[in-house]
């Protein structure tokens, strides 16, 4: 299996409007309901790895209105086209992150809704260690718009 990269995304896609009610966002984000729309993709995904990356843009962090990909928690995706098995290398912001189970459940549940994905293996990794530097540009805009300051 080959580790894939996050597909390049269109600039400026999907930022939240300023002045939003952050409490409402927190209450609503489980399940990605108020997650900003994912980037707009050109055409269908080329392969299972790209399909998985795109789907992961729709999985929200349990605490913040930002996708796991934009938050930088997804460290790698690999897939076996024939068996439909997908492996996700996932890290957390902290070793004692209280949401590790939720996040893994959400990843599994979302990926299994994709056609062609039959099995999902989530591998928790700590290298590279997560820091705020792993948040994408798009993620930074989303958090800023939600009124969350990043300490770097």
């Amino acid at each position: 299996m080959q580790l894939g990269r996050a597909p390049a995304q269109p600039a400026g896609a999907g930022s939240l409007e300023a002045g939003m009610n952050f409490a409402a966002v927190l209450a609503e984000t489980r399940g990605g309901r108020t997650l900003p729309p994912p980037p707009e993709w050109d055409g269908p995904p080329a392969d299972l790895v790209e399909r998985a990356w795109r789907a992961l843009y729709e999985v929200s962090d349990p605490e913040f209105p930002i996708s796991l990909v934009d938050l930088g928690l997804i460290c790698g995706v690999a897939a076996d086209e024939r068996s439909g098995e997908v492996r996700v290398d996932l890290t957390f912001t902290a070793t004692a992150c209280p949401c590790t189970d939720f996040i893994q459940w959400d990843v599994r549940e979302r990926l299994l809704r994709e056609p062609g994905i039959e099995r999902v293996q989530v591998e928790v990794v700590w290298d590279p260690p997560w820091t705020t530097a792993r948040i994408s540009e798009r993620g930074r805009r989303i958090l800023e718009d939600a009124g969350i300051a990043l300490v770097t």
Partner: protein
């Protein structure tokens, strides 16, 4: 770094696997118990910020403990049994963690001295040939950075008064001695094997020297005379470790383990019916 990497415990030669498994359990138990000792001070610390820092430090230690216990599965252990089913004498924690820190200076001794001793051991495994450790150390040490700063800041603060210095002097003596021993005696077999096999990059003496280099200057800066730098700048403890009663397995200088209340809490006895994997 020379030699092949070990991707999993079963790749290790038997003796090395036993030694490393024992070290990981020692580290896991110390992390878990240290987290509990921090949590004892979430309420009642001298400042709200200090209590919040204790909460954050407890969380870090438990996160590290969780990772380390989980790692032992690969060594043939059952992490659930290790975390919830052992008796007091089966724990491998330093004696300073058996009971709650009675005063804030006691807690600072754990924060500055004991927590740093654990971090020095992890630093020595940053380039470990055992990859499951190597890949976790940088995240773990990243989370530890502020623990040292917190300890250092409070030592400086209490060190500003004679009463504070005296209280720290009294509180730090037993933890100092426990930490000094913890790295192991000269020629410690476990340390040598792990070092020769490049699982760690320092033996007992090297680890102790690094620890003295970290904590010695902090204490000396407020006139606490536990260590001093010799003419070549090497920090040396003013007391020698006492090996009487040393238990190489538990890496502690006296028999015993967590007290009954600590044991019940650390195992989660109260919530046993609710335990989830």
């Amino acid at each position: 770094m020379t030699g092949e990497k070990y991707a999993k415990a079963s790749d290790l030669p038997a003796e090395l696997r036993d030694r490393l498994g024992a070290l990981v359990l020692v580290l896991a138990d110390n992390k878990r118990l240290l987290g509990m000792r921090y949590s004892d001070w979430i309420l009642g610390a001298p400042a709200l910020e200090a209590g919040i820092a204790c909460s954050a430090m407890a969380q870090d230690e438990w996160g590290h403990g969780r990772i380390l216990y989980a790692m032992l599965r690969d060594f043939g252990e059952d992490p659930g049994q290790l975390e919830h089913e052992r008796s007091s004498s089966e724990y491998r924690n330093m004696e300073s963690l058996d009971a709650p820190a009675r005063s804030w200076p006691d807690l600072l001794a754990l924060n500055l001295l004991l927590d740093t001793a654990l971090s020095v051991q992890f630093e020595a495994m940053a380039e470990s040939r055992f990859e499951p450790l190597h890949y976790k150390v940088s995240k773990l040490l990243d989370e530890e950075r502020f623990h040292f700063e917190h300890g250092r800041g409070w030592v400086a603060r209490l060190g500003g008064t004679a009463a504070g210095r005296e209280a720290m002097q009294r509180a730090f003596v037993p933890v100092w001695e426990a930490c000094l021993r913890w790295f192991g005696p000269p020629g410690d077999a476990a340390g040598l094997v792990l070092c020769q096999e490049a699982i760690t990059d320092r033996d007992a003496a090297g680890l102790r020297a690094r620890w003295l280099e970290r904590v010695g200057p902090v204490l000396a800066s407020v006139g606490l005379e536990f260590a001093e730098a010799d003419s070549s700048g090497v920090w040396r403890s003013r007391v020698e470790p006492d090996w009487d009663g040393w238990d190489p397995e538990a890496r502690r200088g006296s028999e015993g383990g967590p007290d009954p209340d600590t044991l019940a809490r650390v195992r989660g006895d109260k919530n046993r019916p609710l335990l989830m994997d």
